[in-house]
Symmetry: C2
Subunit: 410 residues, 2 copies
Amino acid sequence: MTPKVSPLAPSEYATLPQVGGVRLAAASAGLKYRDRDDVMVMVFDRPAAIAGVLTRSRCPSAPVDWCRANLPGGAARVLVVNSGNANAFTGKRGAAATALTAQMAADAAGCERGEVFLSSTGVIGEPLEAARFDGILQQAIGRAQPEGWDAAARAIMTTDTFPKLATRTAAVDGMAVTLNGIAKGSGMIAPDMATMLAYIVTDAPVAAPLLQALLNRHVNATFNAITVDGDTSTSDTVLAFATGVAEIPALTDLDDPRLAPFEAALADLMGDLALQIVRDGEGVSKLMRVDISGAISDESARIIALSIANSPLVKTALAGGDANWGRVVMAVGKAGEPADRDRLDIRFGDLVAATDGERAPDYDEAAMTDYMRGDEIRIAVDLNLGEGAFTAWGCDLTADYVAINADYRS
Amino acid sequence: MTPKVSPLAPSEYATLPQVGGVRLAAASAGLKYRDRDDVMVMVFDRPAAIAGVLTRSRCPSAPVDWCRANLPGGAARVLVVNSGNANAFTGKRGAAATALTAQMAADAAGCERGEVFLSSTGVIGEPLEAARFDGILQQAIGRAQPEGWDAAARAIMTTDTFPKLATRTAAVDGMAVTLNGIAKGSGMIAPDMATMLAYIVTDAPVAAPLLQALLNRHVNATFNAITVDGDTSTSDTVLAFATGVAEIPALTDLDDPRLAPFEAALADLMGDLALQIVRDGEGVSKLMRVDISGAISDESARIIALSIANSPLVKTALAGGDANWGRVVMAVGKAGEPADRDRLDIRFGDLVAATDGERAPDYDEAAMTDYMRGDEIRIAVDLNLGEGAFTAWGCDLTADYVAINADYRS
């Protein structure tokens, strides 16, 4: 199956500038794909500060274990990511494969294994033959270039139909710093080939603990606010690297007033990458934005928003262009969070579907049907109970999703 | 869309015998459907003991509110169920519609409104014009007959492709008592037209509190162990009635040694009806049985079993005949319950897919592919941590599910 590009793909892909201190390369190890790259490396000539957020799956992949063990060190010299094989549920052989890969990378870069970070995405349960990387990895590390972003983003694609790239700049201390990011994923998050991976690199001198704090602060409203099918990968990984090449005094403190523009740019970049993943949701034809307000807390709003965005019946209604607000009520009800049926207000776009727990008096089916023809649908629910709010992003559920995932492995 | 009968439908529908003390009738009120019945009544000439389990949705339908208010009374004279309109999210008009319907039924049967029980299934958010029942209800209650089971089961169908009927007998005190049940549903549980409704009637003299205790004890492994899409209806209702016509001393105590055969028959009947609902899952082509063992508790096993049975990726793999055990690992991991990746054993049918956290040494792809061609697939996961066990029932996710639910309302 050769998937066509998602109809919701951006009209242009971002062109990423160089970021001082990082070089990239892509290569082909022939793990699964033919005629395309399936490995990428990022090389940091001086140790970069690193922070990360990893899957909460109780059955994580071997590379996730590897990253979790190395993150406390706070320093990165090499990142190696392969597509085609997730090295997940591969037992002791999986751990051995990560160790061997890291050793090859460390030898080639002249660093410690503790400074090597790894991700794998692809089929679960197939042993990863790390020996295939031998020679290829060393060669890629040697020839990595500052302009390798696009090739790197393409090498980590699996069921993705377009590469995911984003860049931002921020003025810190009167100096422009750059933030680049690449990501892959077309499910939030599917295990086989739709794992979410994202890598962000900045030349700003951000200390590792601060970078981690910033990542934690913004991951909830970005990468954790998207869903394609509610399935959580064994391999989900978001890593952020700060090379510190920009010549400004180091950022180490959350209270540093210089931090605000950098933090804003980082949050914006994370949101951009996250949304690109939804826009490449498997089989997607419509983007769904769910705005919850009036919940008893932000956390309660988050649970309700994801209950709606993950509901197969809301998602199929979207696919059919049906403003089926009854299914939205159902999804609010099943979330288990405080909700008063008779106080719910529900809108699609700016059109009021229901108010005070029943169909709006001026409900206009024709206007609603017209709105539902669009490819970006906003569902807003006001619970009228409190101040809690959250926005989640999802997509519709189409016959193409079924076709992609029913055919996938074989 | 005229749905064909589910390929997993039973080859024969059960023929239900009469149960002393209950009469049934079906009628057409023209709420939504043409050329078919859309209302059914059950009439108990003497008050029957009643017990019930209702949806946990925070946004229940008006008839659910009605039943919840009347259940503590413990006595039923009439049950009225309509299809085509769920009377859910209809605000004050919804409550008024239930009150009017109950009043008409009470007047016709010569009983109190508190002895009338109601269910509605169909579109959400459309006001139910209870005035349409006027005359029809009274006439149906008058002509109800002991042999009306099949017509009643058909009148409550919505997206169901076959009527769901089951019967059992049990010897209590040397006397045969009968248990009949009918149900509807083809999602566990979809809101619009796939709500799960089930009604069980026995002539055994079971006191209401005991009947409730038995229902509570067995609902978890039956009606709450099935899933089609993980969506919970605003209207799910299971009611059990005991007419007490069988001439044996009343059953009132859980410790009564005469109870065992009755309880076994009841549990078996509930399981039978529940499984018929899954077999009519929207778009279903394969039945999925998920057996979890070795969890730290039965509750933990239940959460893991439903995580697997509800996973869109496991369900699409099934649709594709793919023994994708990697997706099973994913679903175990995302459940959030204690699991040790490296101790998992996974089987499809009797074939071992994975053991000790990696692909089984003697994994046989050809045998597995052959097994996956069947229409009843058993996925067994042993967590090897404790004694907790649970069995859930689900089905695959097909393009037909999407088509049914994308087209439904319009």
